[in-house]
């Protein structure tokens, strides 16, 4: 039975999540040197184009069709059978296609998140091949395991409200793999070297705005649960942004704009799996923990290990996603979401270990398959641009354009 309010809400949420990819483009684009800003905007936008088509042709089917426990198969390829009637296993009150396009935006932004790890040095042709293969062989299967009808992690009882595992853990680990094998950028004055911090702030604003659709929309209905997710999302982002600024103030003497917005994004990523299972006060604790742990990952651990995760895709999304998934196992409460489960703090220690198990499985799977895809694409397309192209910038060498003029 289609409900008009629910359908409007999901279409609106879809549009909000769509806006996150351009938001991410500016968030990342501001962080690179200006000779590479167009390359980042281009990678994000073309992900929106390429992966939208991927989703309709076969991605949605691989992820959500009722196949076996590991993947959905090709039953719904080309959207066959994905019509305007509800598919009750996923959402009983909205047209099946509304669910499909809402999920499409998740499938678009997840591979786009990885861009942060290899920004400023990947060849464009290799990028296209990489994200298409990654979406097909990493995102789609994991999405099926956790959210798909009959997925084996779903059957196990793992809780992931809006994508702590499916989106942030998978993208974060893929970021770590690509950054390790691609190596450092050349001729860096300092890391990070953002050319336009206002863009980073603009991107954060768009991401925070879009995240309401991401998390609240995952309730798949305009109801109380959606409101809980909405409020929890804002609470965690606020707590994380503020606490990151305070951490910097104490440790480095001054709170920075870049730090504060990074903290907000860490809070948003971390609360994502929890937003529909935890109370608002728990979300605040989650936000603060996100800020502390991601701060350590980005400011202390990364420089020690000397890997060049250009824009901290792993340090913020990977660490945040894993942390949020585990914290869901602590703070989840059936009083908030009766379809969920109680976490360790509500007397069900098993849930924590289910969450931990799911994280370990997804981390290992993502690591191995991303590595294979990376090597494969490297053989056929060569991942990294030449040293000369890298020094001239990807805008001129990959796209024959430049973002800014010097004179007039």
């Amino acid at each position: 039975m289609i409900n008009g309010a629910d359908t409007v809400f999901i279409l609106f949420s879809t549009a909000l999540v769509m806006l996150m990819t351009p938001g991410l483009a500016f968030f990342y684009g501001g962080m690179v040197r200006r000779k590479n800003v167009l390359s980042v905007l281009m990678q994000c936008f073309i992900a929106l184009c390429l992966l939208s088509l991927h989703w309709m042709f076969f991605g949605y089917s691989l992820s959500f069709a009722p196949g076996n426990i590991f993947w959905g198969g090709f039953k719904w390829a080309g959207l066959a059978g994905v019509g305007l009637e509800p598919y009750t296993a996923y959402s009983a009150t909205i047209p099946h296609q509304a669910f499909m396009i809402f999920q499409m935006m998740f499938a678009v932004i997840t591979p786009a998140l990885i861009i942060g790890a290899f920004a400023e040095r990947m060849r464009f042709s290799a990028f296209l091949a990489f994200i298409l293969l990654w979406a097909t062989f990493v995102y789609d299967p994991i999405c099926h395991w956790v959210w798909g009808e009959g997925g084996w992690l779903k059957n196990l009882g793992v809780l992931d409200f809006a994508g702590g595992i499916v989106v942030h853990t998978s993208a974060g680990i893929a970021a770590l793999v690509t950054t390790i094998f691609m190596g450092k950028r050349k001729n860096l004055e300092h890391t990070p070297s953002p050319h336009n911090l206002p863009f980073v702030v603009l991107g954060t604003a768009l991401l925070w705005f879009g995240w309401f659709g991401f998390n609240a929309g995952s309730a798949l209905a305009a109801n109380g649960l959606a409101v809980n997710a909405f409020v929890a999302t804002n609470a965690a982002a606020a707590a994380a942004g503020l606490s990151w600024a305070l951490l910097e103030w104490i440790r480095n003497g001054k709170p920075t704009v870049f730090g504060m917005v990074t903290g907000s994004i860490a809070g948003l990523a971390t609360v994502t799996p929890a937003s529909g299972f935890v109370s608002v006060m728990s979300a605040i604790i989650i936000g603060v923990s996100a800020s502390v742990l991601c701060f350590i990952a980005v400011s202390i651990t990364k420089p020690k290990f000397k890997y060049d995760d250009s824009l901290d895709a792993f340090g913020v999304h990977g660490v945040g996603g894993i942390l949020g998934t585990l914290l869901t196992g602590l703070f989840a409460s059936k009083a908030i979401n009766s379809a969920g489960a109680n976490g360790l703090f509500y007397g069900n220690y098993k849930q924590f270990f289910i969450q931990l198990f799911a994280v370990i499985v997804v981390v290992i799977y993502t690591f191995v398959v991303t590595f294979i895809i990376y090597k494969l694409v490297d053989v056929f397309f060569r991942m990294r641009v030449s040293e000369k192209d890298e020094s001239m910038g990807l805008d001129l060498t990959q796209h024959h354009e430049r973002a800014y003029t010097v004179l007039e």
Partner: protein, 113 residues
Amino acid sequence: MKLIIAIIQPYKLEEVKEELYKSEINLITVSEVLGHGRQMGVTEVYRGHKETGNLLRKVRLEIAVNENFVEPAIKAIVKGAKTGEAGDGKIFVLDLNECVRIRTEERGPVAIG
């Protein structure tokens, strides 16, 4: 007194600065310029419209030095900026007539350092 003007690749600025500091030359002015030499510019395309021979971004350094610092400065710039490829840039050395430190109104060689 000499004025050294060097045109270098933008991404070589850090290395040149480092080399200059090693030679105890700390006073430099940096500006961004456009230009090309033998390297002959780059191709750009805007909405299908192709433009060839566009000017490339370069960095221009200006360094005023006393005679005994001229050779060290040139050596430092070459060491930091040289790749062996076309486009590495040029160094010009000019005579400098006068130099005034605004704060103290000192003039000549003493005002340079």
